[in-house]
Symmetry: D2
Subunit: 433 residues, 4 copies
């Protein structure tokens, strides 16, 4: 979380103030539930709530320097502010009950923020997909011209990938919406299961099936993996924009605003910096997955090694992805598209990109596939070497002419025919969940 890459909502979410407010919310929900069980005197939580405590993060930090335990420092501070009732807080709980339950609340909230941004990105992509469902584009494999597609169909693939990312994010959010109020080693020794169920429901969470001292960290690792999968999808999208923008391709480019400067040295530059930035940030989000997986194998009922990892990586990974989603949405919404450049690339080298149609025409005419391949490849290599247009080279090849009629050859070069199913792809992508 560096200011440069931190949207305001994420800064608020991961602030010390919000964390301590959430801890208090957990403590009070637990106290409410214990009141219901008859363990804590009725009215305790209400009285504390009525005081509208304004906790001081500084004071908590100061106390922590002595007790060397953040939750005890917090509780001590609440005692300072809430008076005698405060002794009932944390009754039967251990620190991790508060920490993990509030962590689940924060991660769930972060997931909701991410989902909103992902929805916006999906919507932006859908608009461009729709707008360009008929725009011919040369498909590329290995960075080399392959066969034609449409720009809409190409982006439809990205749209589907983002939607898959959204499904995974939702599933991960569901998985992480699990709290734990079962005491020191998860046995409910001093806090009954019924109270846990009641308190967590009030906080919007489910109880962990079987916790140790903590909510098991495989849930968190799954969560971070889901973030990384969304980030990887953005990386693919951004990388493709970089390819489309590069000088020799020029089929699309990032919007370039008035007053923007591309290079300190070279005034002619207009660079895909948002896309490059997204590729870099994808590495950062991805880098959270392995530590999260390493956190799973805690010792016995828990050790605290995961804590420092999560203090750093949970804000970092969620915020970075939040920032990525915002930038990606802007990137897509502002994308400048050059259909005429796209068309020029489809037409390059005399329709070389229709070689498969010619191959299949020969197969249909009875030629074994690998022999047909040699005929077509021969013409293609000449066209690439500048010895003529692909189509005319074919039309002059006796071996081909003997088997394929001019009409049939023409059909192989019919762009409309080649693209006839692209619309289906677009429709599928727009309709997918």
């Amino acid at each position: 979380m560096i200011p440069r890459y931190t949207p305001a909502e994420f800064a608020a979410l991961w602030s010390a103030d919000f964390k301590y407010a959430t801890w208090l919310e957990v403590e009070l929900a637990a106290t409410d539930a214990l009141e219901h069980e008859g363990i804590v005197p009725r009215g305790t939580a209400a009285r504390i709530r009525d005081r509208e405590l304004r906790l001081s993060a500084e004071r908590i930090d100061e106390l922590e320097r002595t007790v060397k335990h953040d939750v005890i420092a917090f509780l001590t501070h609440v005692e300072e502010r809430a008076g005698a009732d405060a002794r009932w807080l944390h009754f039967g709980l251990t620190s991790s009950d508060v920490l993990d339950t509030s962590f689940a609340m924060l991660l769930t909230r972060a997931a909701a923020l991410l989902e909103g941004r992902l929805d916006a990105l999906v919507a932006a992509l859908a608009r461009v997909v729709q707008a360009h469902r008929q725009t011919p584009l040369i498909g590329r494999s290995h960075g080399m011209h392959a066969e034609p597609t449409t720009f809409g169909a190409m982006l439809a693939g990205h749209l589907c990938e983002m939607k898959r990312g959204r499904r995974r994010l939702r599933a991960a959010k569901e998985e992480i919406a699990v709290g734990k109020l079962s005491g020191a080693v998860g046995t409910y020794a001093h806090f009954p299961p019924a109270a846990e169920a009641r308190a967590l429901a009030a906080l919007g969470l489910r109880p962990e099936t079987v916790a140790t001292q903590v909510v098991p960290r495989d849930r968190h690792a799954a969560f971070f993996a889901a973030l990384a999968l969304v980030a990887a999808g953005i990386e693919r999208l951004a990388q493709n924009v970089r390819h489309l923008q590069r000088s020799e391709v020029g089929e699309a480019e990032e919007s370039f605003t008035a007053g923007q400067k591309g290079s300190s040295a070279m005034p002619h530059k207009r660079n895909p910096i948002a896309s490059e930035n997204l590729c870099g940030l994808g590495r950062v989000v991805r880098a959270a997955v392995v530590p999260a997986l390493e956190d799973v194998a805690l010792w016995h009922e828990r050790d605290i090694s995961h804590s420092s990892v999560e203090r750093m990586l949970a804000p970092d990974a969620t915020t970075t992805l939040g920032n990525m989603l915002e930038r990606a949405e802007k990137l897509v919404a502002g994308l400048v598209v050059y259909p005429e450049r796209m068309a020029a690339h489809v037409a390059a080298s005399g329709g070389l990109v229709h070689s498969e149609g010619v191959l299949l025409a020969l197969v249909r005419a009875g030629k074994p596939r690998q022999e047909a391949y040699v005929v077509v490849q021969r013409a293609a290599m000449k066209a690439l070497a500048g010895e003529g247009s692909f189509r005319s080279l074919l039309a002059a090849d006796p071996e081909l002419v003997a088997l394929v009629s001019p009409e049939e050859l023409g059909r192989a070069f019919d762009l409309g025919h080649t693209l006839r199913h692209c619309d289906v792809l677009v429709t599928r992508a727009l309709e997918a969940e």
Copy 2:
């Protein structure tokens, strides 16, 4: 995939022979579907099937040295064996159609093999959980004695984690059961959507919503992440066994068979080598996640950089996890448990592990929590320093005696009361999906 760690079923699954057989299966399913569409003459696939081709991996390798393309080498070899009909194979397809569809079949099959082994591990864990639902065990946080639990409840947490791993594996298997027969850049230029749907259904797969030249690699990355999550759960289990077995703990140990030798130098050794091995292998499975995520951002409609990664890591990660699951099942099934050592640790230091109950008794008696803490901590530190048993030190503390009756103090040390909810945890774990 080194022989040492490769179960036979995985060796067969990832063999060259099985791969080529699967490729042929894909080609023939595609041909069937094209026959249905009237694109290929009826009976073509049936005639090829009737020949019961026995493909030679060696011959394919030999051909590949010239054409430098594995699928073309394969097709050339099939032409050698299947004669003229073979020209209709691969009609309208691109290599990735065959490769990705067959890869989906192999990964789905691998997932099924893993699921079977995971079921066995779950069953073995459930048996030990059941057997030890009442066996008291000292819970440990930070490696230090915390509060009592039961061995059954402790393993119940592992059981739930394995079941969560199984759910994720099933979801990942579902996600990966997606093929693609839509041609060079995924546009169905020469192979209609209806034929794809028919052919893939025959192979047990669904069509990709919008493919590029390939099935998008976020699916595969999600698959490998699911494997790593299962592996991380095994790592946690294995690590805990290592802790339980260590000389000073001795609460459980791996079975040690007749004739086994623990150390080349020290005949007295009996080491938790299976568990250690599992911890190491967990690192290997985890290491596949990042490359799989790096594979997502292919260029344009695809580049082939993912291919070498998958050739190595797909067999490695699935096989290693398969091996881990087998070993983990044996580990759990053969675990030797020492309840009396567990009981001794629960009783250590005069019931020190019941300190929370005493703390809460003081709170109930009206003492502010942090003051109560000081009273109990004082006695505990003396007990740890060997200055007396915790319980007797408390009974002699005037500050405590003034507030807590002997009966109430006794209740804090009542093991049965402390463990009263452990059975609920076991039941939850056994009943969880």
Copy 3:
């Protein structure tokens, strides 16, 4: 970089103010050098220096929102403050010249801060090694008692590892102390090599042999790998402290200060939280290595994808390691050691840990090794099962008695003899570079 884990010197190092001051230092060094070459009028840099510019990070941020380029925003701001002379700044340079050169200065400075802390840790370790060079300790492999060693010899291994880490850090610092003032694509088109050499020398750096637009990122990846290696060594040390402190072992523990509280629920707890924290932070530092390696393969003469990664991970990784080194030094300096517990473990089970000596006595007496093994293992397994002390079981074994005299058997159990070379290890560690 979260405040909790950020030593003050690192906060200052990675502050915006320090960064901009460093940029200005680079620009002025470059201007000086161009004056020397006769390209910029003499006195320009001196006049700007005399103005003692106080740059405003806020103003630069504000300008960046329009120009979307941090170095241009910086230069624009300097122009605002420095007047007409400022047009000579950045003459012939590109942004990366400033960024990478200043980054090299910051990383070199970070390395120096780390080295200082590593020296302190090395010194603290050396003191404990020295103090305990004769303290017997049971060596453990697989977590099981193996053969005796001394606590000093055990820590001597950690000391050597830290010293190796220091050597690698020094080498990495040397590798990273490389700047670059060669213009847009590294060709010196408008800034001559001689000026680069002069300016970088003034900044304490060497010129890159052949740069692209940037200093190649393999240097940075090597730097982060060196950090991770130091962190891994600390992790091993911290993990071993956790093992020594665990309830059943109790051979050493972290210092526990007055007022400290171990658990919010359980007043009896004293946990190795510093060590656990270090293990977690080790994961964070390690997680920077892969993104740094991913940054190497920039496109052509550079793309900017590495930038966002480095903005986040360079401060994080260096600061986290700085924090780790400080905590590790305190951990070692404050370690409480219990030699009597160590001695008790050495003596456990009647000297079981001397089994190798007995084995070798049998071999010396002519018994084939694997047969001798069976004899000794038989007694050891009985001793482990509580059927008698190892030594007395052996003394009663006719097969052994026939071959090994009581004196020879006694020698196998002579602790002083076993430990006679431990002092050599300590000396080697203390003397190692």
Copy 4:
């Protein structure tokens, strides 16, 4: 290690036969040294050597199934073959002495194989650098045309990176050339330091300063990091070739041999598959670094969790890098270069890529830098939009004409002037170590 990617020398190096032969070599060197110390009867090792044992890997595997310990199985088999003398083998040693010493021998040998291949790659690069030291090429940042360079200077950067990789590999080889013959927990309890020094010297290794039961794993992690750094450099090179080959760029391409086929569907394709393959394999090598770092923190004097990791990743990472180096050398040696395409790109858009020279001319004429920038950017954006050639647009700009003479403007567009220092870069690269 899959056959597809395994050079023969690496297959031999990592074979079971070679491993056991190396183990025997270690045992015999140890025995020799003990003979010298008077611990083992003179002539023992010589007699065993004279028997020219042919060990059977199958028999060892069979024995291991009972004893569950690979080194004991090996020793048992040697006893079967070598008779009574064999009881002196392994005297005072523990398995890790043999395993780690032989592992050091294998890794050192692997490093030597890698170094040879890296030398060949360096030589191939040097040849192309030399051949194209004067070939103009447009430099690209962000994938966009920046300023001109030469193809030789561009590759010179890669050459330097490979040489840095070679230096790191050599350092890592030196670091790993360390064995350990100090017994169960590294204390020389039954094997004196002098014997270790003698035996290891005979094997070409140095003794570990302070070992535990094993050679500490930070050495191995450093080794794998060095491999990953070489791989990352190859990845950058390969990725740049992919960019140069892409259809729209076409400045260089991989050799395409007679009979080669680029696509099963599209006969016109010629794809940079070697380069793509190298990019994928780079991910595989990189993926070994984190597990190797995770292996460092072994428990106490060692646990065996690193073993399974190394059994898989040591052969994999070294072999994969070996294969990468071979392919990269072929790639470079066979690279087909198109200087005329390079020249065309330099000339594109009327010399747009010379914008910095014009900017500096304005600055020299007294214009503040950011104002000058606006003038030049204005013309450049028009040129990019196809509204005229950059140079003519500038020549028609009154603001520029007022300050910059036609001669000075001409100098800004002088390619020879721009490239005048490129030769220095080439020379530096060729001369670098």
